[in-house]
Symmetry: C2
Subunit: 299 residues, 2 copies
């Protein structure tokens, strides 16, 4: 089976497409790695880049991107709506197939070491790669942002995992980590009653007695006059799409409302889809390499 | 998007594994093509080989296999329970992704031409590649088998599509064609009542007012004491798995019997699984390249 890792670096540039393109270049050039998606947000002045491929290829491409970002982005000049502390702000490695979370933690450490040794960018490890509990949460690590970084790093509790306790003068510091694949999943309801949507959201939220691993909000789709339950599934393996769909269906039915449709925004790993097939078709013993295209791809 | 074709040659050897292995060799050696599965049936004295890959790679690999089979298999010596007329008996090309049925018809013609020109094996085109209506059905083409071939070919109505109207002395003739992907799909019921299973089968069969594109039979799984509805879905795109599952579920429920589970035997194309996701999750606008692994694979 082929080993596949996804990597989703966020860079602090969302306005100058030449800079973004220059940061994509190392990804396009790295063998065994493929650029899957990127999008720039002008207000945030930030771009989210998604690529995937072999574990070593991903480290190589991410390093190349960090190098370009360090050359081309000066955080002293940066303004934007999204919190940030580095030219490359955050680099998560995500297991997709044939690799474990521990493997991705190792990739994060490998990249972190190289970023300090070769680029002099201090690195914090976060989420599954975190060296201390308070560094798991990215928001904690990034608190104070670039402007507060020099002072924050003086605190021994916030010494970086790689590098000296001082930000790179223009590139700041980077959070490098390992996390679970995140699926953006939306369910549209046959109602324009946003209050009702919010009730349903409160039913499926963990804090209210609903599902873990689901971040949800309700919003009104003006053009369709449908309420959308917009969700991030932060662990689509333990809490799969079908369970979310079925629970929303049940809670909506209570109010006499049915599901109009659903959508997966962006990427989804095969394994998450297979869980749906297994549930809905009561499928037994299915392996994803039975999918012709997957069998061709793997080793 | 990558162009993917599946090819499922059947060779008239199911006992001597050295011969089978020699026939697999050209597939293993052809760039852009991957051997996905093969199985030999001793009673049939026949092996079914499945490989897939680029269109040109598939023609190349199939030609190599035909060459090996011609060298190593002598139909004058062949005995087995399955009808056959050639050393390579049948070679269907199947569209998987990014190719049309017409593309596969062209591949069949390309291979057929080469098999005659370079190997002196006469070729009949069948199914979607058939040159006449009566040649669509493989059973018609193969009727009379190797032993009756010399006489049958004298009839102008059965002149081969490529080659002279006489069988190759040891390798006979080959049916080369294009067909739709076939999915072997079984549904197990919470009952050991085979009569009831047969009633359900008669409900879902085309001739009895059921579904087209479904070949079904009922059998008893002794170890589980469950009736299995064993099916070939000969067009899993027009008549997708979910529709078959739901119809079996409804007809079984009428007798108070529920579905215990289902299984996909062997390979399934991604598109067939996506149809299930679309139905069960009411999924809108989903493209198979949103599956990370697929995005990596395609161009």
């Amino acid at each position: 089976m082929a080993k596949i890792v996804e990597c989703v670096p966020n860079i602090s540039e969302g306005r100058d497409s030449k800079v973004v393109e220059a940061c994509l270049e190392p990804i396009r050039k790295t063998a065994g790695v493929k650029l899957l998606d990127y999008s720039s947000d002008v207000d945030h002045n930030r771009s989210v880049i998604t690529f995937a491929g072999s574990p070593d290829g991903c480290v190589e491409a991410a390093f190349g991107l960090a190098q370009q970002a360090r050359e081309l982005i000066d955080l002293n000049q940066h303004q934007g709506g999204h919190p940030r502390m580095g030219a490359v702000d955050v680099i998560p490695f995500v297991p997709v197939a044939g690799v474990t979370m521990d493997d991705c933690v190792e990739l994060a450490k490998k990249l972190g070491g190289r970023m300090w040794n070769e680029l002099r960018i201090p690195v914090y490890l976060y989420e599954f790669a975190a060296s201390r509990p308070e560094r798991k949460n990215l928001a904690n690590v990034r608190k104070g942002e670039f402007e507060g970084l020099a002072e924050k790093m003086q605190d021994p509790a916030w010494a970086p995992d790689f590098g000296d306790p001082a930000p790179h003068p223009t590139a700041g510091a980077t959070a490098v980590g390992a996390r679970i694949f995140l699926v953006a999943y939306n369910i549209n309801l046959h109602t324009s009653d946003l209050k009702l949507g919010k009730k349903i959201v409160s039913c499926i939220r963990e804090v209210k007695g609903g599902l873990v691993n689901v971040k949800a909000m309700a919003l009104l789709l003006e053009d369709r006059q449908q309420v959308q339950i917009s969700m991030n599934l932060v662990n689509p393996f333990d809490t799969p799409m079908y369970r979310v769909f079925e629970l929303v269906r049940l809670e909506a039915e209570r109010f006499g409302v049915s599901i109009a449709g659903s959508e997966i925004v962006g990427l989804v790993p095969m394994e998450a889809l297979v869980k749906n097939e297994e549930y809905f078709l009561r499928l037994e013993g299915f392996k994803s390499h039975q999918v012709v295209e997957m069998g061709l791809f793997g080793e």
